[in-house]
Amino acid sequence: MNWTALYASFLATMAFGVLFNVPKKTLLSGGLVGMLGWMIYVTLTQELNINLVTATLAASFGVATLSQGLARKLKMPVTVFSISGIIPLVPGGMAYDTMRQLIENNYLEGLRLGSITLLIAGAIAFGLIFSGVLTETFSTRLAQKS
C-alpha cells in the first residue's frame, strides 16, 4: 500500500470538510471516513485486482455505512460525513483522461474511458443508496424488536 497516498486521502478529506463547513468536532472523523473509503478502493483494485467499478461500489458502500453509524451516534445528518467521505472516490483522473483523448481525436479510447467514468460515478451513487436502504430496513427492524 502507498502510505503517502493514504495519508493524503485523510488530509484531503479533512480539507474538504473545511470547504463544506462541517462542524469542527466532526472534521477528524470525516477525514477517517474518507481514508477508509480510499483504503478499501486501493486494496481491492491494486492488491486483489478487482474491477474499478466494483471496487468503487464497495468503497462507497463502506463510506456510507460508516457515515450512517457515526450520524446515529453523534445525532447529526448523514451528509456531514458522507459528502466529504466520497470525495477521494470521485473519478476526476478518469474524466480528465477521457477529455484528453477526445481532444487528441482518439474518439474510441475517449468513449471507452468516458463509459468507465460514468459507471464509476454510478457506482458511488449506488453504494450510497444500498447502504441507506439496508441501514433503514435493518434499524427499523431492530426498533420493532426492542
Binding site: K24, V80, G92, A125
Partner: protein, 254 residues
C-alpha cells in the same frame, strides 16, 4: 400557554427551511424539519413542498378557518453543513419541548445572520492543500504537491471572486479551470519538472460538484424527482464547465 398567531409560526418554519435550502440540505430533510416544527407549534396539518429554488408551506390551525399558505423564492445557494446541523438541533429540541417558539425564532435568526464557520482564508488554504493532497493521491511527488497547491489555490480564489461578480456560476467555474490549466503549463514552461496531468487533476478537485451529486442521488431516492433532476443537471453543467475550461488549454497547447 399563550397562543402564537399562525402567521408567526409560518415565519419560523419558512426561516428554518430557507436556511437549510441555502446551506445545501436534501429536500426530504427540509420538508421533514418544517413539518416537525409546525407540529411542535400545535398545528393540526402542515404541507410543505420544497424545490431547489423555492419553498411552499401551508399550515392549518386547530380552528377550521385558520389556514395560511406562503411561498418563498430562494435565489442563491452555498454549502454550509454546520448550519444544517444547527437547524436540525433546533427542530429536535422544539419537538421535545425544550425550546419555546420565541426562543427558537431568535436562535434561527442568529443562525441566519452568522458567518460561515471557517473564514475565507481558511477555506482558501483548505482548497489549496486539498489540491496538493489530491495530486499526491494520483501518484504525484513533492514538486507536484507544491504546484498543485499554488494552482488549486489560485483556481479557488478566482472562482470565489468571479462567483460574486458574474451572474452565471458556470462561467466562474470555466474561468477557474482555465486558469488552473494555464498555470500548470506555465510552471512546466518555467522548467519545473512536474507531471502536468496530476497537477491539473488535483487542482480542479475543489471545484468538483461532490455535494450536488450526493444530494441529487439522495433526492431521487427519496422520491423528490423534480429536485433530484434539477440538482443532477446543475452537477452535470458544473462538471462540463470544468471540463471545457481545461480542454481549451489542452487544445491550444498540445
Amino acid at each position: 400557554m399563550v397562543k402564537t398567531p399562525i402567521g408567526e409560526i409560518i415565519e419560523i418554519c419558512l426561516l428554518a427551511g430557507k436556511i437549510m435550502l441555502q446551506s445545501g440540505a436534501e429536500i426530504y430533510r427540509i420538508e421533514d424539519t418544517m413539518n416537525r416544527i409546525a407540529r411542535a407549534c400545535a398545528m393540526t396539518e402542515s404541507h410543505s413542498y420544497v424545490t431547489p429554488t423555492g419553498i411552499f408551506l401551508s399550515l392549518q390551525g386547530e380552528e377550521q378557518d385558520l389556514e395560511q399558505t406562503k411561498f418563498l423564492r430562494i435565489a442563491w445557494r452555498e454549502i454550509d453543513l454546520n448550519k444544517i446541523v444547527q437547524v436540525n438541533e433546533i427542530s429536535r429540541k422544539m419537538s421535545e419541548g425544550e425550546l419555546t417558539i420565541q426562543q427558537a425564532h431568535d436562535a434561527l435568526l442568529s443562525i441566519e445572520k452568522a458567518q460561515s464557520l471557517y473564514p475565507f482564508w481558511q477555506q482558501l488554504l483548505a482548497a489549496a492543500l486539498a489540491s496538493g493532497f489530491f495530486a499526491l493521491m494520483f501518484g504525484g511527488i513533492g514538486i507536484d504537491f507544491l504546484s498543485a497547491v499554488a494552482a488549486g489555490g489560485l483556481g479557488f480564489l478566482l472562482y470565489a471572486k468571479a462567483n460574486r461578480r458574474i451572474e452565471v456560476k458556470f462561467f466562474a467555474e470555466f474561468l477557474a479551470a482555465f486558469s488552473i490549466g494555464a498555470l500548470a503549463y506555465f510552471f512546466s514552461f518555467l522548467g519545473l519538472d512536474i507531471q502536468i496531468d496530476k497537477v491539473i487533476i488535483g487542482s480542479v478537485m475543489p471545484l468538483v460538484p461532490g455535494v450536488l451529486i450526493t444530494n441529487a442521488v439522495r433526492d431521487l431516492m427519496a422520491g423528490d424527482l423534480v429536485s433530484g433532476l434539477a440538482r443532477g443537471t446543475e452537477a452535470f453543467l458544473t462538471a462540463f464547465a470544468i471540463g471545457s475550461g481545461v480542454a481549451v488549454i489542452l487544445a491550444v497547447l498540445i
